[in-house]
């Protein structure tokens, strides 16, 4: 009973922050909304006993991605309405109707499928030890190859990000040197 109440509270808070993220005009307020949304999702993970995922969500998303977003907002210094054009009203209304239809479609698709046929195991979540063992296990049911590939992807992404973000400076210095 208390879990259901917590679920409704968390979903209301998360949806309110999601609405805030997609409508607020000030980008800093959007980021605050995004942080509270990610906290709400982390709370949802806790509600279904996925403590490890909840911790990863908080440390990677809130500690990493949102901090990165805040830095970029500060760097591009474009938080006010200057060059921050809002979409036309007809566009917002039509996209709102479209998103609502998409929600109804998803709801009917989910509601019409009988998920009880897919599995009848009692509800429980994988523990952190099980997840850790699966991540580095080369046996069947292990994910060591995907784990290694994702670390390569992260390295490539970080090197690429540094290269792209630095290239402007390098070009400018090369142009200024002759004068």
């Amino acid at each position: 009973m208390i879990r259901t109440a917590l679920f409704y509270f968390l979903s209301a808070a998360t949806l309110f922050s999601a609405y805030f993220v997609v409508t607020a005009r000030n980008l800093f307020r959007c980021t605050i909304g995004l942080i509270s949304l990610l906290l709400g999702i982390a709370g949802m993970y806790l509600l279904i006993d996925a403590q490890f995922l909840s911790a990863v969500q908080i440390s990677v998303y809130i500690g990493g991605v949102t901090v990165l977003i805040v830095y970029v907002i500060l760097l591009v210094a474009d938080v006010t309405q200057k060059s921050f054009r809002q979409g036309a009203r007809w566009r917002k209304i039509s996209v709102g109707i479209l998103a609502f239809l998409l929600f109804l479609l998803l709801l009917t698709a989910v509601g019409s499928f009988d998920f009880s046929s897919t599995g009848k195991l009692p509800p429980r979540s994988a523990s952190a030890a099980e997840i850790g063992r699966a991540l580095v296990s080369p046996q069947r049911g292990g994910y060591v190859l995907a784990f290694e590939i994702i670390s390569l992807v992260l390295i490539a992404a970080i090197v690429g990000a540094i290269t792209i973000a630095r290239s402007g400076d390098a070009g400018r210095e090369a142009n200024e040197r002759p004068s």
């Binding site: 009973m1 999601a18 279904i48 998303y61 989910v110 195991l121």
Partner: protein
């Protein structure tokens, strides 16, 4: 136990997904578009975790895939934000309609 069911989580994540799509299509600023994409990815990851908890008795696949989603989302955010910094140098703003040319 009398807690929320799988249906609760599926309906919630469908709603969150729709809000993300709304933001993706109405936002005029590229950082706002990136945030909407993060909302959509979170809605998808929540579905994985809900299914692994309620239907598959804690099968690790349902907990490992959200981890990969989070890792790919972090890499994606790093690359997109670097591109935005480079774009801002050329255009002095981050409007979606202004970012339609590959050359400057």
């Amino acid at each position: 136990m009398n807690g929320p069911t799988l249906g609760h989580f599926l309906a919630f994540s469908a709603l969150l997904f729709s809000v993300g799509v709304y933001g993706l299509l109405t936002r005029r600023n590229l950082i706002g578009v990136l945030m909407s994409v993060e909302i959509i990815l979170n809605a998808a990851a929540l579905n994985f975790v809900a299914f692994h908890h309620f239907r598959f008795g804690g099968d690790v696949a349902g907990a490992v895939f959200p981890l990969f989603i989070i890792a790919v989302a972090a890499a994606e955010a790093a690359v997109i934000l670097a591109i935005l910094i480079a774009l801002f140098r050329h255009k002095q703003n981050l409007d979606v309609d202004g970012a339609d040319s590959l050359k400057h």
